[in-house]
Amino acid sequence: MTSSLNLWLIPVLPLAGAAINGFLGKKFSRTAVSVVGLFFSGAAFAWALSVAARVSFPHDPELFAHWIRSGGFTVDFAFYLDQLSLVMLLVVTGVGFLIHFYSVGYMWDDPSYYRFFTYLNLFMFFMLTLVLASNYLMMFIGWEGVGLASYLLIGFWFTKDSAASAGKKAFIVNRVGDFGFLIGIFLIIQHFGSLDFTKVFAQVAPLAPETAGAGFLTAIGILLMVGACGKSAQIPLYVWLPDAMEGPTPVSALIHAATMVTAGVYMVSRSHLIFERAPMALMVVAVIGTLTALFAATIGIVQTDIKKVLAYSTVSQLGYMFMACGVGAFSAGIFHLMTHAFFKGLLFLGAGSVIHAVGGEQDMRKMGGLGSYILWTAITMGIATLAIAGIPPFAGFWSKDEILWKAYQANWIYWLIGVITAFITSFYMFRLFFMTFLGDYRGIQVDAHGHARAADGHDGHGHGEPHESPMVMLVPLMILAVLSIVGGLVGIGNRFEHFLEPVFGSGAVAEAAGEAASSAKEYLLMGVSVTVAVLGFILAYVLYVIKPYLPQKIADGLNGFYTTVLNKYYVDELYARLFVKPLIDGSTSILWQGIDRKVIDDTVNNAADGARTISDNARHMQSGNLRSYAGWIAAGSAVVIAFMIWMGVR
């Protein structure tokens, strides 16, 4: 038995912060709210670091309290730490703390300042519960909890109609995925009689892969993947993530880029023993991931809202992670998850800084030339753009290249689509960068504009000229920029993979051996992916810097297709037609007008009407006429006497 590390502290600290700010924050000053919010998220990060320094693997699950005991089936509040959860732990607490820090600057003028920090801390609690859970049920609690926090934060500006409905959409679409996850959990209980990771995986390990046909492992795998599709915004459930950009930008950075949406990747990786024994489920994962990567990237090209571009980029990058998981390269997926948390968190925070600078404007067509106004934001975002585009030696290059290499080993089609996506990614990211920071400023520079925007309840601050954000927002940007540069270096020589080896097994070692033999090929592929990244850069440079009139021409040339992509392939409309409208119509005509009005209401109304009619008639007996009362009494006695005589005779 290894000594206890008090893992329970890590999630409970942010919970305490949420409770203090939530119950008392209304009366606190902004400074006090910030201190509480930052202290508890920072303390969680500090404790996670101290745990990382002291832990020795393998570390036994730490029991915190008993929960469900039902016959032989038990579920406990227990925390499990291995290399995988340690990586997630550090990413969540580290990036989370930076974003808390950033939010102090970003949200300072918001009237519901304390509420924001309450929700952020609450999110941290649930996310850490999810990551540290030692069984599927606790993971599910965290899973639902982050969904709740996500809902609350997307709809943070709930007086704005679009924000409120975006929150609802996220919540409802996630329910679809959670349903699959839940059924998967039930199947696990049915087949393994336990939900503890250690017990389930111990039973899964000796099973043979279901190569011949689909068995229960395949079913579990696919159902878990349905859950992951919801949370991690994969086809067909990705539709909520772009709308989620209605939330404040730090939320988009923390929840909808860096941490929560990667929960699906974490869950699939955590269950890798199940997936490895279900080739069909694994293939589903790979295909969904690959398609999503390409599909979302193409939508990203034409978006004009700076946050929407990043949202589709997130969906696309998550697709990469699932592609990695699908080809069995779980450590590559987690590696990309980590680097993505750095550079996408940075991109969103940078976008927040840009939005802050131009007074709430999110449309890139009204930006441009901001590089000279907000140099630090431009530099840090440039680093993140290079990182996501896959230019060496930035972080994204290492992880993306790892995924593409593993994909190539599995099937060259995955690799091909991956490379195409990498090209598109590079293109739209540089497009975003050029449209925002280079060229001439296309916004309106009158003082009134900022105030008008702020009145919309947008990320509003009243400003005239674009201006740099305060230090409290720039420092997290710089730290994340450094991480985006060096974060990938841990992957050199497969060190990251070796670190995760105890979790993902020796498959990685065998591949590493094969890798040495074909390193020439790997370098060739590396060259290809760098080339496409540079090509994307050049294309974006030509189209948006040298000849800025060209994109409109091309768009006009591709009229029909362009409109289709601009409207996101009409997927939202399709879902509305296929699912939402029939559901609403059915509810209206059958459930509301049919059952509620015709059956339930009518039963109640008719019962009341009947009682009224009967009483209406019966009340005439009470006429007030003494002799008629006497008549009733005489008649009643006569009946009673007749009855008694009849009884006596019989």
């Binding site: 009340r619 009470q622 006429s623 007030g624 006429n625 003494l626 002799r627 006497a630 008549g631 005489a634």
Partner: protein, 100 residues
């Protein structure tokens, strides 16, 4: 000795007269007297049974009935006088406020 059934028949006759008077008559005084008639019809059956079974319980019960009837006439006549004073009629068909 007079058979029990004679007493009972007389008692039933008196009671039936009381009921009929109660139902038919409109004057409150008459109705009041009909009630007394019914009570005494019942009293007669009580004493008849008491004599037949050689039990004093019936006789004692009759005393109770008489006491209650006396009290009732005192209260009842007072009410009748009050009714007459307020409504200036003793016709029950016109004293019909007790209704919905």
């Amino acid at each position: 000795m007079v058979p029990l059934s004679y007493y009972l028949l007389l008692s039933g006759f008196l009671f039936a007269c009381g009921v009929a008077g109660f139902l038919i008559k409109r004057n409150i005084i008459t109705i009041f007297m009909s009630i007394e008639l019914m009570l005494n019809g019942v009293n007669l059956s009580f004493v008849a049974f008491a004599a037949h079974w050689h039990s004093l319980a019936g006789q004692i019960f009759v005393f109770f009935v008489m006491v209650v009837a006396a009290a009732e006439s005192a209260v009842g006549l007072a009410i009748i006088i009050a009714v007459y004073r307020t409504r200036e009629t003793l016709n029950v068909d016109q004293v019909n406020l007790l209704k919905l």
